[in-house]
């Protein structure tokens, strides 16, 4: 905790100003830690803190209770300064049971605060968590470097709700609200937003709403009235750029980015999707926007999902499909069809740990080469990646622009970390959104009134022709087509021409994308850290800290990966060394080395977890020292 100032408040606890705080809510999958974390986050956001969150939960809906495998964590880093990552280490750890403590203690700062529910430290829980018989970390002295608060949250909640008329199960479920109330007190935050939330969520079950609110307030009062807590922390509002803000997750930003593109182009949005972690929330969110010209289609499988989107695009809608790695694998043949047809299509891959089912709820950036090359035959496609939760909005909007203006499938890469993570976002107004040009062919475009469905413009883009347009009946398909006419052709030279035309068309997208600029640091120098996707926050923080320490290091972050921005080679050439950190074993690294023939250095992490700032700083310093 970065602390500055002491003063006394109403209760006997002293109130300390902190610049930024990292809290980890950790408990069993059934303890409601995600909801608790999100409620805390929403309040911090509404009070003007900058923040970043990291929900970190197991793949199983109900993993074995009480075990380390079943621990579900929600991390929030909030501050009065700009925050780009959920934080390397926690200031406060809420551990609802012994397994949670075991899993998360290693990343609690020395001297940090632990709030435990001792009901989760009985013999059974300790055994399940894998502590040896007779060992309880709460009383064996192993936590003496920390400030430990041992509360029987379960009992306290039961006591406060004893006359609520609810069953034991429901009462126990409210214990997370007790903890949340206590945390609100500790950080001097209002309970108002959560009370509104509870009333909305349990509108139809007023007795449950009342119990949750009572538990929440009991938690607050417990902090205020007992003498156990001697310190409270105040994190003032951050001085972010002026404007209106909201808190947003990557998946939600992706969903509304698609709605925005649909609305700005007046094209109906068609989402073909099959449920898959961690992409399903985009399907859920878009399903709520049906009144905004959005049609969501939960297909029978991943293949039908993308094929439905292809049919929709062919018919003049903005066709989109959302998935994660295993689903991408199933979609590849259809992506090849869309490439061959040359129709707009946005393919959203929210990456997770692979191969195969891999780590469904954990993050990774390991689908980049799949996005680039997974189709059979020569079938290059534009690839674009979002760098933060809110950046998903702008990036998916850009994916729609490229798809529509260049008549091509586009792969948009997000990942579990930014998809579920959230941050404050200075959202745009519709009037400021960039224009996307849409045109449909309505008249024959060839000599003597003939139709040439594959006649191209300067950017090698063919026209979009909707079924239903009088006089323009024609057939398209997956077979190789004759240049311009689109008729089936097996001619050898024609196939070569078409292969090159399809590739050049993708290359020409570079003419419409802005030159890359340096994000932090100078335009030239000793070391450039080149990143893509969700590593942005950690790289930015690490690079800025190193610059602060006097090191010659810069940061460039890519949104467009295929094609690369035109000036990328020039930018890279101005640095002695290029370091590429990725949550894979070096995929962008391969692309950069192959294209620019430079001896770039890779840094790899494949643990299902995002980079910490420290990991990146260590590597930067190792290179520069």
């Amino acid at each position: 905790m970065e602390q500055t100032l002491d003063n006394k408040v109403g209760s006997n606890a002293q109130l300390i100003d902190a610049e930024s705080i990292v809290i980890r809510f950790s408990g069993d999958s059934g303890d409601g830690m995600q909801l608790t974390g999100m409620q805390f986050t929403d309040t911090a956001a509404l009070l003007g803190n900058d923040l970043a969150t990291f929900p970190d939960y197991p793949a199983e809906i109900r993993a074995p209770v009480g075990t380390t495998a079943g621990v579900s964590g929600f991390q929030v880093h909030f501050g009065s300064r700009e925050i780009y990552t959920p934080g390397d280490q926690f200031d406060v750890l809420v551990a609802m049971n012994s397994a949670a403590l075991k899993v998360d203690l290693p990343r609690l700062k020395k001297g940090g605060v632990i709030i435990t529910n001792i009901a989760g430290f009985d013999k059974k829980n300790l055994n399940l968590a894998g502590y040896p018989d007779g060992v309880n970390p709460l009383n064996d002295g192993s936590l003496e470097n920390y400030i430990v608060h041992k509360l029987d949250v379960t009992k306290l909640t039961k006591e406060c709700l004893s006359d609520s008329g609810l069953g034991m199960k429901e009462i126990e479920r409210s214990k997370n609200m007790f903890v949340l109330g206590l945390l609100f007190w500790m950080f001097d935050e209002t309970m108002e937003y959560t009370i509104t939330f509870i009333n909305e969520k349990f509108g139809k079950k007023p007795e449950i709403a009342a119990a949750n609110i009572k538990a929440l307030k009991a938690g607050w009062n417990f902090g205020d009235h007992t003498e156990i807590f001697t310190t409270r922390y105040k994190v003032s509002a951050a001085s972010l750029p002026k404007g209106e803000y909201r808190n947003i997750t990557g998946n939600h930003a992706t969903a509304i980015g698609l709605v925005a593109a649909s609305e700005m182009t007046q094209l109906p949005l068609f989402l073909g999707s099959y449920p898959i972690t961690p992409a399903s929330d985009i399907l859920h969110d878009l399903s709520k926007y049906k009144t905004s010209n959005v049609r969501t289609f939960q297909a029978e499988d991943e293949i039908a999902a993308i094929c439905g989107a292809i049919g929709a695009s062919y018919t003049g809608s903005l066709g989109v499909t959302t998935t994660s790695g295993p689903g991408m694998a199933l979609k590849t043949e259809a992506i090849g069809l869309a490439t061959m047809l040359e129709i707009p299509l946005v393919i959203i891959d929210v990456q997770r740990g692979g191969p195969s089912t891999g780590l469904p709820t954990k993050t990774e950036q390991s689908d980049l080469l799949m996005a680039m090359y997974s189709r059979h035959g020569e079938s290059p496609l534009p690839v674009i990646a979002a760098s933060s939760p809110s950046d998903c909005f702008q990036t998916v909007y850009e994916a729609c622009r490229i798809a529509i203006e260049h008549m091509t499938p586009v792969i948009f890469l997000s990942d579990g970390y930014i998809a579920n993570g959230s941050e404050p976002w200075r959202f745009p107004v519709a009037a400021d959104l960039p224009k996307i040009n849409v045109s449909f062919l309505t008249e024959a475009n060839g000599p003597d009134g003939s139709l040439l469905p594959y006649k191209r413009n300067d950017l090698l883009v063919r026209p979009w022709i909707k079924p239903g347009t009088e006089g323009l009946m024609h057939r398209i398909g997956g077979l190789e087509k004759q240049n311009e006419t689109g008729n089936v052709s097996y001619d050898a030279k024609n196939h070569e021409i078409m292969t090159h035309l399809r590739a050049e068309k993708v290359e020409k997208i570079a003419e419409t994308i802005p030159p890359i600029t340096v994000d932090s640091g100078k335009d030239s120098g000793k070391l450039l850290v080149l990143g893509w996707g969700s590593t942005a926050g950690a790289i930015k923080t690490a690079v800025r800290e190193c610059i602060g320490l006097g090191y010659d290091v810069s940061h460039v972050h890519l949104r467009h990966i295929n094609p690369f921005p035109k000036n990328l080679g020039e930018v890279l050439g101005k640095f002695d060394t290029v370091l590429i950190p990725e949550m894979n074993t070096g995929q962008l690294l391969k692309l950069i080395r192959a294209k620019y023939l430079i001896p770039a250095i890779g840094l790899s992490k494949v643990q299902g977890q995002p980079y910490t700032t420290i990991e990146l700083k260590e590597k930067i310093l190792e290179i520069l020292k």
Binding site: A237, L240, R246, T291, S292, C307, E470, M473, R475
Partner: protein, 346 residues
């Protein structure tokens, strides 16, 4: 819903539906007849050409799309139904026709086939069943009879074939018909019925593969045999077949029984009267395929086996959207961008 052609427009002819592409099926292929019957019937349907879309997968049958002067997409193996779903949702006004073979529809595309039946988009699914893989040069298919000797089964296949009628009924199809390439009049009639039905119309068309499975269905069309092997269903008419229309089928409980009209003392009117809206009976008719009943070999049924009026997917979806708009209105994009909870930094 298809739109009626402008009355003032000159009526289209079969030729108007032929594309400029050279038709490239093998000589003697049953696909030629199907193409001809489709092109013959289409002018009568009164749909403007630009409102017709053919979607096909892969296989000999799938080339059909290239030969129709309508909109069309020759897509990838098995996926026509999925692509067509997106087409129909995007523009319910289009008249959508799917063309598949037995491998395309029931093997690689089996999942999409069953879900299409269930979802009930208003479109027509023509499956050219030749009980063989033609384009890949003669492997047994999911409709080949057990024991089929083909390229990949030199000692005979060991598995049971699908009965497409039962498959479709089991998947909640709202229209199931069977016809064949060698009976042009019947084929035309089935195409018209399929078009008239609002919902997914599944038409199984027995089609001769002259090269790899020649004559598989000839017994249903050859003069000498067809009376005994085939039965042509008509709504409200008794189930009669046989050389001199002297055999009938009646139900003994739920068991079909073949009756000799000459000797049994029963007349045609005592026979089972076909009711194409009766699902229980449709299941029984569907199962004639397997000769699963005692009492001899049942004739193969042709005609509309089952039809049912039920809401289409696209109507369900678009009506729901209209209702939502009427009830809630359409949110402004700015409201969607801001969400419900915002704060201002001054």
């Amino acid at each position: 819903m298809t739109t009626a052609a402008d009355q003032s427009m000159p009526k289209l002819t079969a030729k108007d539906f032929a594309s400029t592409q050279e038709v490239k099926w093998c000589p003697g292929c049953g696909d030629y007849s199907i193409l001809k019957q489709v092109q013959t019937v289409f002018p009568d349907l009164g749909i403007p050409k630009e409102d017709i879309v053919f979607i096909s997968g892969i296989g000999c049958a799938a080339r059909f799309t290239y030969y129709m002067d309508t909109y069309g997409m020759h897509s990838i193996h098995g996926r026509a139904a999925a692509i067509a779903s997106g087409v129909k949702i995007s523009n319910p006004e289009l008249s959508v026709w799917l063309v598949s073979g037995d491998g395309d529809a029931f093997s690689i595309g089996g999942n999409h086939f069953i879900h299409l039946m269930r979802k009930n988009f208003d479109m027509n699914y023509l499956v050219f069943n030749n009980q063989i893989y033609g384009l890949t040069k003669g492997q047994y298919s999911p409709t080949s009879e057990k024991g089929k000797v083909a390229k990949s089964t030199p000692f005979g296949s060991v598995e049971e074939p699908f009965n497409p009628t039962e498959l479709a009924l089991g998947a909640k199809s709202s229209f199931v018909a069977r016809t064949m390439d060698r009976d042009p009049k019947h084929l035309q009639a089935m195409l018209k019925r399929a078009h008239e039905h609002k919902g997914t119309s599944f038409v199984e068309i027995y089609q001769n593969c002259a090269v790899f499975n020649d004559g598989a269905f000839f017994s249903f069309s050859d003069k000498e045999t067809k009376k005994e092997t085939a039965i042509f269903l008509e709504h409200g008419k008794p189930l009669i077949f046989g050389d001199n229309n002297d055999k009938g089928i009646r139900l003994d409980g739920l068991k079909p029984v073949i009756v000799d009209l000459n000797t049994s003392g029963l007349s045609a009117n005592d026979m089972w009267i076909h009711d194409e809206k009766d699902k229980t009976k449709a299941h029984i008719i569907g199962s004639f395929f397997d000769s699963a009943f005692e009492g001899g070999h049942f004739p193969r049924p042709f005609g509309v086996i089952y039809t049912e009026d039920r809401p289409t997917f696209e109507d369900g979806l678009h009506n729901q959207i209209q209702e939502l708009i009427a009830r809630k209105g359409k949110p402004a994009l700015d409201k969607i961008l801001s969400g419900d909870k915002t704060w201002t930094i001054l």
